[in-house]
Symmetry: C2
Subunit: 345 residues, 2 copies
DNA sequence: CTGTTAGCGCCTTCAA
DNA sequence: TTGAAGGCGCTAACAG
């Protein structure tokens, strides 16, 4: 078991012995601490190099009491949305000298909690996470006594976990207003999942705006479960088309993934977008990938992550947040592409 | 700096003091080691629970000399292909009681090497990686003295890093034979990137099979760089269509991502798949996502990862591999979907 | 059945 | 400018 590889790994002691100095000297040379002659430093560093010495970060973390590591847990690494966030987070963290541990909770509350424990056990200095769902808040807030935690999505009212998220009410409003400006008077919301707070807010403001403007703002709902947002869009819009004979003028999809599903349903039926039907989504994810590039409403993902990491670091350095400071709503923007066109007729 | 949060984290000592036992007893209770009365165990565990004690894995790893952690480094977390592999690896590793550190090398040799150092510094017990490119081998093989390493793709001849990969020659052969069986006699290979060993093998056997069967097996190449495989397929097939007037009967795309690009190019020009053009890809990634679900050739991704982790663990437990054992070629299979149909005319 | 003790590899005072 | 020694939190002998 311990004979692993038969080769003993080089430690700072080995280096010290080989170089004929003390471990303290090696340590100082390695960490660029002053107070030693340039020639010993270079000599020691040379020995390290020659012996291919790699410092043991565990031991270092143990004595230093900080690991320069943050943890990120997301529900599904396979989703382009989360993958994008992780990539950006990795880049941003690296810039700030942190390493990142990624965890995939598989959309499972229990695994989410397990991973929090694991990360804390590994002495991360902060955790960034995209909650599995609204119940996450209750499960996880008590971990805040160990380590700063920031959510990348809104948390339920009254929960102490701070967050950085999109102002989803604004998102819904922007999408609805834009379609109305395009001249549409009959719009349909597809892919609504009432369990998601973001969806609820989008729908709510969508309905507010349409009602106020005096135009039709329908919502098509089904009871079923779908294995992905794409599936949801594809199946739900398919069902809608079977039930109703008249197409709406425009569709608001609950997300870009849903919108891509709607596109698939349309292609199969030879409904052309945007000629016969305009379509708008949310999130700006994979919006330029499929056959039709999607007009969408979104915040900047890199800003999202950047603000969250900033907040984490601020908390980590002992600055306690005022309540409002822990609730950051980023303003979304319209990103015009090809799936909507001015209504004429 | 150390005043972090103002709260001192609970350690095993605190628990021991609180419970009125020694640290050894707490440790034994926690790790389920025998030789203690059931009532002390339960009592101690209760105290741990009450104090919300989370063991410090760093300290544990330091003394145990093993961390139950493996590292995985991939070039691009944003690619569905790598995302899929990571997800499967995480699941498989968890099953075996390992945690996983993920790293995103951003398709950059230097970062790839940096992450290897970081992982080794963190005392991972093995590294699984998908090489940035063929140069990776030279950069990384020397890390094998620290820790078992397995590549998820073929390594250049003569390199000591063991690997588990698809038998790509077989892939190309399967695709070509299938199209010939479908009755096609004029086929085009799109998206060839000569820098990729997998592509070279696919093309080679594609040409071998077509030549032997006496049918046309063309390859369309361009000099340009593309920002993604999808782009490559989309742009390259677009260019092809502009230059030539006659469509081939079937297209072999270098990967499914490329194939999806080809689909986009076709949709824009009203070329219907599979009626006017049959299309086949490789990898079985996102093959059922876009408008047309793609016929493709691939190994099982979960098997791929499983075999690689197995190999890692075998190496880790000190068993040295024979040369052939370190070179595993998995047999790909045809996955029939909707993008190919029997040729009639 | 339980406690004492010696490190794991590293950093950091405190002396020299 | 350098070295010796203590300790980070934990586990694993070895005593009792």
């Amino acid at each position: 078991m311990k004979a692993k590889q038969g080769v003993k790994v080089t430690t700072i002691k080995d280096v010290a012995r080989e170089a004929g100095v003390s471990v303290a000297t090696v340590s100082r040379a390695l960490n660029g601490l002053g107070g030693m002659s340039e020639e010993t430093r270079e000599y020691v560093l040379g020995v390290c190099e020659r012996m291919a010495y790699v410092p043991n970060s565990l031991a270092r973390g143990l004595v230093m009491q900080h690991t320069q590591t943050i943890g990120i847990v997301i529900p599904d690494i396979t989703s382009p949305f989360y993958a994008k966030l992780m990539e950006l987070a990795a880049g941003e963290a690296k810039l700030l000298g942190y390493q990142v541990l990624f965890c995939n909770s598989f959309r499972n509350y229990e695994m989410e909690e397990d991973y929090f424990k694991l990360l804390i056990g590994n002495q991360v200095e902060g955790i960034l996470f995209f909650p599995v769902g609204e119940q996450s808040a209750k499960n996880l807030y008590h971990f805040m006594r160990y380590v700063p935690i920031v959510a990348l999505n809104q948390m339920p009212e009254g929960n102490p976990i701070p967050y950085v998220c999109t102002d989803e009410a604004k998102s819904g409003e922007i999408a609805a207003r834009y379609l109305i400006e395009c001249g549409f008077r009959d719009m349909l919301f597809i892919g609504y999942d009432a369990r998601r707070m973001a969806h609820r807010k989008r729908v709510e403001s969508f309905q507010g705006v349409t009602k106020q403007a005096g135009v039709a703002g329908r919502i098509f709902e089904t009871e079923r479960q779908y294995k992905s947002s794409f599936e949801r869009g594809y199946r739900q819009f398919g069902e809608f088309l079977e039930q109703k004979t008249k197409l709406p003028e425009a569709v608001i999809a609950a997300s870009d993934a849903t919108a891509n599903g709607v596109i698939k349903a349309c292609v199969e039926r030879n409904i052309s977008i945007p000629e016969e039907l305009s379509l708008i989504g949310f999130d700006n994810i994979n919006a330029d990938l499929p056959t039709i590039s999607l007009t969408t409403v979104s915040i900047s993902h890199s800003l999202h992550v950047k603000r969250a990491i900033e907040m984490l670091i601020r908390m980590q350095s002992g600055i306690s947040l005022k309540r409002e400071e822990g609730h950051v709503f980023l303003k979304p923007e319209l990103i015009e592409r090809d799936s909507c066109k001015i209504h004429t007729s």
